[in-house]
């Protein structure tokens, strides 16, 4: 497969014809409490402009690009320009209109609140 085939074809062309050295599945933490589901992903080197986050038909897609500084003579490299890609099927008990996302220090946090119907509800018992 050539590098050309691997470029993410998107209107907001993420890779801009850049050579991507490797594609990785970012490491994630997923946890939920009564109100929301939280997804935390490690995306070192990714700036806000180079992150594509989308929900389409219940599938959350994380696509990002972390450009590495150029090589050249006398360099030793353990990582190059890295593309991140990972998808998750989301349960339909989430309110997709209220999704929040925050990118800080190369860590992406996506907050997915549950719909009111999916939250546990405490039922008051009236004692007569």
């Amino acid at each position: 497969m050539s590098d050309k085939d691997l470029n993410i074809q998107k209107e907001n062309e993420l890779t801009e014809g850049r050579r991507v050295d490797s594609w990785l599945s970012p490491a994630v933490d997923i946890f939920e409490n009564e109100e929301k589901l939280t997804l935390v992903a490690d995306l070192p080197g990714v700036a806000k402009e180079r992150l594509n986050l989308g929900i389409d038909q219940g599938i959350l897609t994380i696509e990002a690009l972390a450009p590495a500084s150029g090589g050249g003579a006398g360099s030793y490299r353990e990582f190059g320009t890295t593309g991140y890609h990972r998808r998750f099927q989301l349960p339909d008990t989430l309110d997709f209109d209220q999704v929040g996302a925050d990118l800080k220090d190369g860590v992406l946090t996506v907050t997915l609140p549950k719909t009111a119907a999916a939250r546990p509800r405490r039922i008051e018992v009236t004692v007569h």
């Binding site: 994630v28 939920e32 080197g45 030793y76 490299r77 008990t93 190369g106």
Partner: protein, 148 residues
């Protein structure tokens, strides 16, 4: 729990995809998890670049408090040490926990003598960049020729 099952389903899909790609030699590999030294490399992974007058080291350290990072240079060795804290609520229901936490230390051999006093570090988007100016003795010096 219904939600848990859905996530497991995706996990299986992910694994299948990884296997599929690995089978045809595609370069897509799951990111090396925190603190593993598989492949003979340590955490964090680093890039080192040598320029005429300085060395530059980039390290992938997402979600680290830069104040808690310890960067030391002794002789020809640069040492990066710190700790990554466990994120998230402990009493939540966990579906996945792939991002590691704990203490790390990595020593990097530098290919030139550096000016210890002038070392600078910068942290942006989870990448730590350490700039180490070379000591005067390690820089190339142009010798002027006197013509008579």
């Amino acid at each position: 729990m219904a939600m848990l099952n859905l996530f497991q389903e995706m996990e299986n899909m992910q694994r299948e995809m990884d296997d599929l790609f690995r089978g045809i030699g595609f370069g897509r590999v799951p990111e090396a998890s925190f603190a593993t030294t598989a492949g003979g490399r340590g955490y964090p992974s680093v890039n080192l670049r040598e320029e005429e007058d300085h060395l530059s080291v980039d390290a992938r350290l997402p979600g680290i408090d830069p104040q808690a990072l310890e960067i030391t240079v002794m002789g020809n060795t640069l040492t990066l040490a710190g700790e990554r804290h466990r994120a998230g609520e402990e009493n939540a229901t966990w579906h996945r926990r792939e991002r590691g936490a704990g203490r790390f230390l990595r020593a990097i051999d530098l290919p030139a003598v550096v000016d210890v006093e002038a070392v600078g570090a910068d942290y942006q988007d989870g990448i730590l960049t350490v700039t180490l100016p070379k000591a005067a003795s390690a820089r190339p010096k142009r010798i002027a020729i006197k013509a008579h």
